[in-house]
């Protein structure tokens, strides 16, 4: 779908607005910073109800849309701009609209009442111990109205977050929520709402998007909601990375764009790093922070940045832990019978560039040129490709596929790499413009269906913001078409779809990387290429020795890349203690020779150990089962997801947290419903 826009003066706009469907105004308003134009594209409506969305794609700019049948321009001020957008074809002609609950900028409250919004603040507290992050997110809702309200809020979490706790706090009373089957939880919540009880419901809408509803918040009343979760820290380029997502990006789905949004309110983020060894190079890529040495190898990090568009991009913290060379770490929790859980982290060796000999590679770049990539994002994507081309050499070959609503291949066949071919490719690349939908499947099909030159190792580099709603189909397509190739996914932008990027990387047995709008994209492209082409350890197997392990995840460890650790979790079947035993990670070293990494087993018997390791394994199992359900279409995998989630007290696609206060008699009457607005990615702003 494409809409055409024309910038006109106010007078012309008024005239046109009679027959046009939508008016978009740039103004300075309470809802965010609004500035002059830059409006290039309109977005399909949510549900054919006469409303439409619009957006601005310049940094910090935004647009506001109103229905054309309700034009009151008296609020236009001096210096404001007026944009008129021609209504496009009906969304119904373009496929379905995402209705799966992904939230967005929705500043409605009753009939046009848009007073202060009930999300008053968010406090994040994280303890990063080893490769595990233990995070608490406390959201404060305050009802500014004179009557009772229900607040609805959609927010992002990191994609492998194992949500284990949900506590509602009212007037100093803290009530822990209970995990139930999703339908049952929703039933209880609705019954509590009807009965005038204060209640809350937490549902998982996607693996990294959650929706929360809080019912019957009294006038001026404050309700705190605390969510706790564990997750494994990602490691790349030798650095551990901790991310607090703040944006639910809009997703393209079958011809339509689902709503997106980011979190709102005042934020605080406090992080303590306790890596068990010296911590080096602590830096925040996204925000201003205060860093403090806490003693004993512990480091504290506090968010200092509160201004501007600080909440329109993910919080990304990176640090390095002292220690060189290949090593492993295996933490086990076992009960008296030796049964329990384990987490094995493998840190691959750093490449010896002088001794390693790289195989020739054939690289297929798959570049997203859809509308959401417009501006800086596409420029960064082009730089990634240029950087990757820089890293190629004699004997290598490449191809470039671009996709938006359709896919196109550059040139007729495989392009042998040399200086001239690289220059021509860059020249062609610069001609790419971003527009249209994100039919990623077409791009991947075009890339994976190219006949494989077996003399070269094939590497597919997917460069995208990942803003598609059909993640499952994309992951399935990669798995089906992978063959002997490896896929590395590069996420572009300040809030890319990390869930998709990581899943594609995992299924594609490659890796992932992220490039923010202000990052050195060319450098990342070069490093990515070097890493993928030079997997430091291949044909990896784990020799468990005498350990009785079961349900190991991932079931197959892919290639290991220098500077990027891998975490393997599983269950111990028991029978005897395994403390002090050794397992071996074995593989083939890049450039020849074998490598054997010994890992000593470190047993813990404390209760938190069981909680953390058991939860991490259960969450990995849930993600694995969910992917199997997607690939096979079998319901039984989702039933297993439900069983696991209930047994381990985790939020999932089939379970939800619910809490209802049984004290008192409850309020009378239905609460007013308020949808908490959230912000969107820097460079984009959406409003209904």
């Amino acid at each position: 779908m494409r809409l055409d826009f024309c910038k006109v003066g106010v007078v012309a706009a008024v005239a046109l607005a009679v027959c046009a469907a939508m008016v978009v105004v740039g103004c300075e308003g309470a809802g965010g910073r609004y500035g002059s134009g830059g409006l290039h594209q309109s977005i399909v409506p949510e549900g054919g109800n006469g409303d439409e969305y619009s957006r601005s794609t310049r940094d910090g700019n935004a647009a506001r849309a109103r229905g054309g049948d309700d034009l009151d321009l008296s609020w236009l001020g001096s210096g404001d701009e007026l944009w008129v957008i021609e209504r496009g074809e009906s969304w119904e002609q373009h496929g379905r609209v995402d209705r799966d609950g992904v939230g967005g900028l929705r500043a409605r409250a009753g009939r046009g009442d848009t007073r202060a919004l009930p999300l008053d603040g968010v406090r994040v507290r994280a303890d990063l111990v080893g490769f595990v992050g233990s995070v608490s997110v406390k959201q404060t809702f305050v009802n500014p109205w004179d009557d009772v309200i229900e607040a609805e809020y959609v927010f992002p979490l990191i994609d492998d977050a194992a949500v284990t706790g949900f506590v509602m706090e009212i007037s100093g009373r803290r009530i822990r929520a209970v995990v139930r089957e999703r339908e049952e939880a929703a039933y209880i919540y609705e019954a509590a709402k009807r009965a005038g009880r204060r209640a809350a419901l937490l549902t998982q809408e996607r693996a990294n998007v959650f929706a929360q509803r809080v019912a019957n918040i009294g006038p001026r009343e404050r309700v705190d909601i605390e969510i706790t979760y564990f997750h494994t820290l990602r490691q790349d380029d030798g650095e551990l990375e901790f991310v607090v997502p703040m944006v639910v990006a809009p997703r393209y789905k079958g011809g339509a764009l689902a709503r997106g949004g980011g979190v709102g309110g005042v934020w605080s983020i406090d992080v303590t790093i306790d890596a068990g060894a010296a911590v080096e190079g602590v830096r925040c890529l996204s925000h201003d922070v205060e860093i403090e040495e806490l003693g004993g190898d512990r480091v504290g990090v506090r968010l200092a940045d509160q201004g501007g568009d600080a909440w329109s991009r993910d919080f990304v913290l990176r640090y390095r832990v002292a220690g060189e060379g290949a090593r492993g770490n295996m933490v086990v929790w076992e009960d008296r019978e030796g049964a329990g859980y384990f987490a094995l982290s493998i840190h691959p060796p750093t490449l010896d560039s002088e001794s390693s000999v790289r195989e020739p590679v054939e690289v297929v770049f798959v570049v997203d040129t859809s509308g959401s990539m417009e501006g800086k994002a596409l420029r960064q994507a082009k730089r990634v490709v240029r950087g990757a081309l820089d890293a190629l050499g004699e004997g290598d070959a490449f191809r470039i596929v671009r996709f938006a609503e359709r896919a196109e291949r550059l040139g007729g066949g495989v392009i042998e790499y040399d200086g001239d071919s690289a220059r021509r490719a860059v020249h062609e690349l610069e001609r790419y413009r971003a527009r249209g939908g994100t039919e990623m499947l077409r791009g991947l099909d075009a890339a994976l269906s190219i006949p494989h030159d077996l003399a070269r190792r094939r590497v597919v580099v997917l460069v995208t913001d990942g803003l598609v709603g059909e993640e499952e189909k994309v992951v399935h397509a990669v798995e089906e078409g992978l063959g002997g190739a490896r896929v590395i996914a590069v996420g572009i932008g300040d809030s890319p779809n990390r869930l998709l990027i990581e899943r594609v990387a995992r299924v594609g047995r490659g890796g992932s990387a992220y490039v923010g709008l202000a990052d050195d994209a060319r450098g990342v492209g070069s490093r990515v290429m070097g890493k993928v082409a030079d997997a430091s350890v291949t044909d990896v197997v784990i020799d468990w020795g005498g350990l009785g392990v079961a349900d190991v995840l991932p079931s197959r460890v892919g290639d290991l890349y220098a500077g990027r650790s891998v975490v393997v979790t599983g269950r111990l079947e028991g029978g005897r203690s395994v403390d002090g035993e050794t397992v071996w990670v074995r593989g083939r070293r890049s450039g020849g020779g074998r490598i054997d990494i010994p890992v000593r087993v470190d047993v813990r018997t404390d209760s938190p150990g069981r909680r953390v390791l058991g939860t991490l394994w259960a969450r990995a199992a849930i993600m694995d089962l969910t992917e199997r359900a997607i690939v096979t279409g079998r319901e039984r995998y989702m039933r297993e997801v439900e069983e696991l989630a209930l047994s381990y007290g985790l939020a999932s696609a089939r379970t939800a947290f619910v809490v209802a206060d049984g004290v008192g008699r409850g309020r009378r009457g239905s609460p007013r419903r308020v949808e908490v607005p959230t912000r969107v990615e820097r460079g984009e702003e959406w409003e209904r």
Binding site: V148, V167, M168, R173, R174, I175, R176, A177, V178, V179, R180, E184, I188, A191, A192, R194, A195, G196, R197, A199, G218, L646, S647, Y648, G649, V658, V659, A660, D661, G662, V663, G664, R665, G666, R667, R668, G669
Partner: protein, 150 residues
């Protein structure tokens, strides 16, 4: 004719009764209640675990803390809940452990289709050193202490 009319009338009444029953099940007699869990002991209570067995149609909807060192929301056993059992517990490392009648938790229930009742059983209680101690548990329905907020 009269017989046919009677059959139609019976069918109508039957459906009406069924509808009324469903309505009642969905919201007519649904109720939310809370119970205080009180552990009574002669020495400082360092740790405790209680099973609260809910009656027919009762669903746990929340676990709240009690008083003093046990004011933080207690934990429940997810695996036990799968079997319909509510097992809650907590511990404290505080130097001043409470004794006597100690409200350790408050449990909240949704009662579908009418009022239910619960039975509490003490599973274990320990002192500051982790040694087992004599104690008894009492589960008491919370009477409206907040008033009607409307």
């Amino acid at each position: 004719m009269r017989r046919a009319c009677a059959m139609v009338l019976m069918c109508v009444l039957g459906f009406a009764a069924l509808g009324a029953q469903r309505m009642g099940g969905q919201g007519g007699t649904d109720e939310f209640v809370a119970y205080d869990v009180i552990v009574e002991t002669g020495v400082g209570l360092g740790a405790w675990q209680v099973e609260v067995r809910p009656g027919e149609g009762m669903k746990l909807t929340g676990v709240e803390g009690g008083t003093g060192v046990y004011s933080e929301a207690a934990y429940y056993d997810e695996a036990a809940l799968r079997g319909g059992r509510v097992v809650i517990g907590d511990f404290s490392l505080d130097e001043q452990l409470p004794s006597g009648r100690v409200r350790v938790a408050r449990v909240h229930f949704f009662v579908r289709g009418g009022a239910g009742h619960v039975v509490g059983t003490l599973q274990t209680a320990g002192d500051a050193a982790g040694a087992l101690i004599d104690a008894r548990v009492e589960v008491v329905r919370v009477i409206d202490d907040e008033g009607d907020a409307s």
